[in-house]
């Protein structure tokens, strides 16, 4: 195995160590002085002021979002794969079955930023590339309830189904507007109060204490 033995500072006698010491201190001072007299070496970025010029890498994971096609429709079919892959149970896909249909469609896509660890698995597994991470990192709020997001503006079928309907007015009938998620939310613990009735069966009840 190739090894290198690290160098050790010389022991030397007192006088030579003393002069070495003075020299080393002066060398150190030269390094810092060079930075003082070269303002171009400053690396500080003044964040809120440089918002316009601030460019983050495109792969930065800061917020989960939906991709929409040119008509403003998404391709989500409420298949729940992202929900199953999420290690923190941060995603809740609430689906609905329209009257007279057997196929379920997306009602509300709830994403809890407060418990998300940005592992990107939901994006990786999405079969229709609906989900993506964007770089909008300014998501701090004063109330934890506001960290529960609804990612879609409407409830309705995927764009593939919608676009089969030729008439624009007919299409509009198929979808219902959805605003930001305002359902009841537990501030701590799991599961979300309120949602649990619809999505979670009794099996999700927390285990009885010992």
């Amino acid at each position: 195995m190739k090894t290198v033995i690290v160098a050790r500072p010389g022991d030397g006698n007192f006088v030579s160590r003393f002069f070495y010491g003075v020299k080393s201190l002066l060398t150190g001072m030269r390094v810092t002085f060079r930075y003082l007299v070269h303002p171009s070496t400053v690396v500080t970025q003044q964040y809120p002021e440089n918002r316009k010029t601030l460019k983050l890498a495109e792969r930065v994971r800061a917020q989960l979002s939906f991709t929409f096609d040119e008509n403003g429709f998404h391709k989500c079919t409420a298949c729940h794969i992202c929900e199953q892959q999420c290690p923190n149970a941060s995603i809740h896909v609430m689906d609905r079955k329209p009257a007279g249909s057997t196929k379920s469609e997306l009602d509300t896509f709830i994403w809890r930023l407060d418990s998300c660890t940005f592992c990107n698995l939901c994006v990786m597994v999405c079969p229709f590339q609906v989900l993506k991470m964007n770089s909008n990192f300014e998501s701090s709020v004063y109330d934890q309830k506001l960290l529960v997001y609804n990612l879609t503006p409407y409830a309705g079928p995927a764009s593939s189904v919608l676009m089969k309907v030729a008439d624009v007015e007919e299409r509009k009938k198929l979808i219902d507007a959805r605003g930001p998620y305002d359902g009841p939310t537990a501030l701590s613990g799991f599961p979300l109060a309120g949602i649990s009735k619809q999505v979670f069966p009794e099996t999700t009840q927390i285990g009885a204490p010992q």
């Binding site: 930075y35 400053v42 690396v43 500080t44």
Partner: protein, 358 residues
Amino acid sequence: MSVSSVSQDIASHLGSAPEISAAYFVAGLLGTVTFLTVMALILIYAERKVAAHFQCRLGPMRVGWHGLLQSVADALKLILKEDIVPYSADKFLHALAPVFAVVAMLLSLIAIPTSSRLALSDSNIGVLYISAVSGLGVLGILLGGWSSNNKWSLLGAMRAGAQIISYELSATLSVLVVIMLSGSLKLSAIIHSQEAGWWIWRAPGVGLLAFLLFIVSSTAEINRTPFDLAEGESELTAGFHTEYSGMRFAFFFLAEYLNLFVVSALGATLFLGGWMPFHIGNFSGFNAAMDLIPEFIWFMGKTAFLIFLSMWFRWTFPRLRVDQLMKLEWKVLMPIGFINLLLAAMMTLFGFYFFATT
């Protein structure tokens, strides 16, 4: 500053009645306090800016133009902050300690002449007075550390006590060199003795060595890196002022920077000629040109240089360990100081220094 000092100056020149002079003195004192507080704020700002640029940063940029008002904002914040006194602290001494620290510094400053006409009190024993009064500052630190009833604080205070008392020795030894060379304890006399050249280079070798000793030991006396063991943040969290907050913490902070100013001003006075312009022997033309720059500017410039040097040390060097600190003082600086003192004595005896005739 100028107003108060000038008034005192005028009073002494007019030789007016003692009660008027006392009134002037009080006014002068108040003016000095105000000046020094402003000075400390400027120093804090300067330290932050200098440190930032040593470290490739910008430093304070938000309050005022390039953060000029940052220290004012900080001071306001500290004044408004809740003053927390630990439950089991000695309340009286806890409150007294910061006052001690600041007052000692203020007292020592009144003896330093800032120009040939501006001196609040030009005492016969100026140097002795300063070293006596500035030594009181350690009492504030010891009291603060002890009364907080916190082991980290106590450790910091004990470190500071041992350190300041030790380094006082070599600081005094280096000051003695100048006293010996100039033959006076009076600060204005010391400055006048440097008319032909500053002591740092007028006494060959000895002056420079004494100056270096003074720089090192005064840095240790004011607890700045590489000798900041008393508040060594990575070892003792914050040392003696761990349990202080708000206004009282601000007082310690103020004292620290006043201390820096006092020590640098003293160093400038003793070794760099104080307000004395830069003169070279008998080059009268050059000397006259230098005289055009006001004395006050000379004094402040030299002080600023020494302050910058101290900041430069602080932002470059790591901290010593507590036993190495003592070793440095007792095994290195003290012997050098004594040898230097001996050399200076011989030099004085034989008149062997530059421009001895002037």
